[in-house]
Amino acid sequence: MSIFFRKDNNIGYIEFDNPDAKVNILTGEVLKRLDAILDEVRERTDLKAVVILSKKKDVFIAGADIKEIEGITEPADAVAKSKFGQDIFNKLEDLSMPTIAVIDGVALGGGCELVLACRWRLATFNEKVRIGLPEVNLGILPGFGGTYRMPRVVGLERAVRLITTCKILSSSEALKFGLVDRLLPQAGLGDSLQRFIEEIPSQRRPALKKKTLQQRFLEDTFLGRYIFFWEARRATRAVAKGFYPAPMKVLDVLEATYGQPREQVLALERKGFSELVLTDVCKNLIKVFYLSEKYKKLSGPDAENVVARNVEKAAVLGAGVMGGGIAQLLSAQGMSVRLKDVNFDAIGKGLKAARKVFDQAVAKKKMNAAEARLRMAQITGTLDYSGFNKVDLVIEAVVENIEIKKKVFLELSRVASPQAILATNTSALSVTEMAQAAREPSRVVGLHFFNPVHRMPLVEIVKTPFTSKETLVTALALVKRLGKTPVIVKDVCGFLVNRVLLGYLNEAGRMLEEGASVTQIDNTITAFGLPMGPFALTDEVGTDVGIKVLHVLHSGLGERFKPVEIFEKVHQAGFLGKKSGKGFYLHGRSRSPNPQVASMIVVKKRRPFSAPEALERMMLLMVNEAARCLEEKVVDEAAAVDVGMIMGTGFPPFRGGLLRYADHLGIDKVVERLSHFEETLSGERFRPCGLLLDLKNKGTNFYAA
């Protein structure tokens, strides 16, 4: 049993305590039991108050059971499931005695909806307290009365913000929002709860936080609400870009039900829920949620008994875009960082980049100014190796040249602490060669961060045949501590993400040489759901970086990566992309295609542009390359590819990931279209790889295999 009722001193306690896991979840079973308890409580006259709390550390209720949501296949089933929860929470809301939720940890989704149905909500000062409705992230809307109660508790404007953007609140924020009534210290919680209960009769239930004049206009007048929803829709559309129906549906429900009686609101909520939960988007988002949860907690293969070493002091070599970004990231997590480069101008640039990220965090109130100053002071510049004898970790981000890198690793073997993990941020070069240059290859590992470092959630951990378990486990722990998602990859040229991505960029370039335009291609890709098209991406990364990686892949993996001419030309013309102001686009106050690029293109064989065909060419080429990666065991499962592509390139989560998308298309179709392109474009690069043919023959797919 995971939910208990006890009476103590005329107060009823409903305690959630799931014996099978670290968290409480509102499964159908738990809800049923809660329903029974509420029936019992309702009939009792000896209770002064009912307290709802969790016996779990740092968790109140983490949410509804996602597996049950995923299992819904019929609209009627969805409506019934939603109504089941709604009815129970109505019962809770309708109890005659005061109900008090004590939130000492995570109260998300259904857990948040449960506390909303209580008359009083208390939270502790525990910094693990997280309250919010993240349903939209899974492609659904809160289906247990959240859309009914949230606007009534915190006001319409705040409710819209909380539900459509899935904003999760800390306890102090929740107090500010009026979502909780009071904060209590964790120590002596029982006593302060007791005192609170004794005070209840003399206290007036505080109405919502007092509204500002602007809020009153936007929420309480017809015209104001019209303007408010118009603006909310515009803002949501800008983010969801038509790919994600859930936030728009939330707005529809909230607008239609504003001020309506409970049953009408809940009926509309159920209907909205049932419509969303059956969409592919929802199914894919749930799958991606599982993937990201799994990889966020990734542990090394058979390394249960290996303990990660603590990293307190780190050094970064090279204060460029990546080096500066990595230094910032390390120092933000409390590590002191020695930042080495060949001159102080370079170090200054690195410091400036780090400062910018901290300043942004302060501006967004994610960090206070004092902490930002401290973190900045933790990064010190140096031209020599002084201080390296005390570091636990070195990450080199010097120029991408294998000879220089080998020299660096040899030097590091001499100067760095003999325990230090020696990592490279190379995006394509051989980590194994670098390891062999080091005195102890077992301490060498690749940590491939993506640009911009503070925003991109993925880190490829490159394992060489020499990398020790301890090194790998320490690298994994570090990546997780930095708040990033790790994917472990084998040391083959280009690793995973760049290898899959660069063929696609090259294909885009090839289509330019067939007469397509930069905007035609980029628009095709953004319409598919990627955050930017191949050329915008190239400009973002830098054409110099792009061409360099292409060269490495070309020499390491063969002809299919031979850079198309236009990339060489654009790079040679000095159009480096965003950093130089000009690339495939002109980057001024607004972005427009660079006309000089158009004039550089020599159209070899003109083909009429067709967006669906262009999309197929680019996507299937990626699928083929990803399949090769699986075949060569660069990663051990299809999920790793999808996590890598979603986190590393922004591949649209609502499509479920690159290989999930291929599975949706059907392996037969993928192979058939690849073969078609191989023939019609005389492109060997399209020849379906062995694994694809194998899957096809077996009649299976990436995830089923």
Binding site: S336, R338, F344, D345, I347, G348, K349, L351, K352, R355, D359, R373, L374, M376, A377, Q378, T380, G381, T382, S386, G387, N389, K390
Partner: protein, 425 residues
């Protein structure tokens, strides 16, 4: 007894007030020096038992600045820290206090130093304005509020400049420059002599640029991080007697001789020194730069504060039983040229020695061993840091020239002198 080892030290460049370090606070500067010293010396931060910095300005947003520097520099939170203030000798005081703590057996290894951001010494409100604001805050009714505001007069808005307040002696009422004028007149030191002294300071500092690099950590000042500051910006390459002669006396317009050119510069900077008992240094595997043999402080009339070294020097020499002639390198902080020259003359005078009972511990300081790499007139005088700089510079110079004995001394606002004897073998 275990000697007091100075293991190593580092300082930021010294930059004139309002220039390159304008955006750095005293705690920022102190942190930079402390961190770099830790990195370069290779000391384990856990081996540091206490942090003691000297600071004069005592920034209102950095109460107990040593603690802030300690925490920001990555020294464990369990390590205590406190700040010392002996005016212009605060940097030396930090080392003296460290020595006493080590000798008393309370600590084995201490991070000492001094820091000052004279660019960031705040302006203060007038007392009247302060009262009006207080009244306004307490006012409950609109009428009371109006009443409070009506008391405001334009003169109430003139700020009181913290730097000027700090440089004025509240007991004798003279500012520091005026005390230098007192000495110049008493000892008959001419304008020409002061300017010549100042010129040498600049020439020596310029000549020593590369030498001084050894003791300096380049600083890339935020928030712009545009350029690294690698050198002190006080020394003037083309300083001439003519240019110095053109300056007007600032503290006594009519009969004065003290000018901005022959006074120390108002400057930002920080110094960090790692101090430990000789045995602890050995245990930690750290090679000391040198040792602090002894230190002494002496009191004088506040209006003659610049003469302080003439008393502190014989006092410290007496303590160790060494003659002034045995000192191979001497640093006397150049608060004012007039004041350093007055000290030299007093020490040369047998009458002076007799009067105060300093016989055997005074004498002539040869100009070629005095402030060999320039002094505060060229390099600047970040008041809380200078004392520590003298120790650092002198020990580095002694190491370079393989000398054994050195003497450092400062005059101290409020009427004191400070001195210390350093040795290497």
């Amino acid at each position: 007894m275990d000697r007091i080892a100075i293991i190593d030290g580092i300082r930021t460049p010294f930059c004139k007030m309002g220039t390159l370090f304008n955006d750095l606070s005293a705690q920022d500067l102190g942190t930079i020096a402390a961190r770099e010293l830790i990195e370069r010396s290779g000391v384990d931060v856990k081996a540091i038992d206490e942090v003691i910095f000297g600071n004069v300005g005592q920034p209102p947003d950095a109460a107990n600045i040593s603690r802030i520097i300690a925490l920001t520099a990555g020294i464990p939170k369990t390590t205590p820290a406190f700040t010392v203030h002996r005016n212009c000798a605060s940097g030396l005081e930090s080392v003296a206090t460290a020595a006493l703590k080590i000798q008393g057996g309370e600590s084995l290894c201490i991070l000492a130093g001094g820091t000052e951001s004279m660019s960031n010494i705040p302006f203060f409100l007038t007392k009247e304005l302060q009262e009006i604001i207080t009244k306004l805050n307490r006012a409950k009714t609109v009428a009371e509020k109006i009443q409070a505001v009506l008391a405001l007069r334009p003169r109430h808005l003139t700020p009181r400049i913290g730097l000027n307040l700090g440089l004025t002696d509240p007991v004798c009422g003279l500012n520091m420059g005026q005390t230098a004028e007192v000495l110049a007149k008493e000892f008959g030191i001419t304008r020409q002599q002061q300017d010549e002294f100042a010129l040498v300071s600049h020439q020596r500092a310029i000549a020593a640029r590369d030498v001084l690099k050894e003791e300096i950590v380049p600083v890339i000042p935020g928030p712009k991080y545009n350029k690294a500051v690698e050198f002190d910006n006080g020394p003037r390459e083309n300083q001439t007697m003519e240019a110095l002669a053109k300056l007007k006396p600032i503290f006594d317009k009519y009969s004065g001789t003290v000018t901005a050119g022959n006074s120390s510069q108002v400057t930002d900077g920080a110094v960090a020194l790692l101090v430990a008992s000789e045995r602890r240094a050995k245990d930690l595997g750290l090679e000391p730069l040198g040792y602090l043999r002894a230190f002494a402080f002496a009191g004088v009339e506040p209006q003659r504060m610049g003469i302080g070294p003439a008393h502190a020097i014989p006092k410290v020499l007496k303590k160790v039983g060494l003659a002034l002639e045995q000192m191979q390198v001497v640093e006397i902080n150049e608060a004012f040229a007039a004041q350093v020259l007055a000290v030299s003359r007093a020490l040369e005078s047998p009458q002076f020695a007799k009067e105060f009972g300093y016989e055997g511990f005074t004498g002539r300081i040869e100009p070629h061993i005095l402030n060999v790499n320039g002094g505060a007139i060229a390099l600047g005088h970040p008041v809380g840091a200078s004392g520590a700089r003298l120790i650092l510079s002198t020990l580095k110079q002694m190491k370079r020239k393989n000398l054994n004995l050195g003497l450092v001394s400062l005059c101290v606002g409020g009427g004191q002198g400070a001195a210390a004897v350093l040795e290497r073998s």
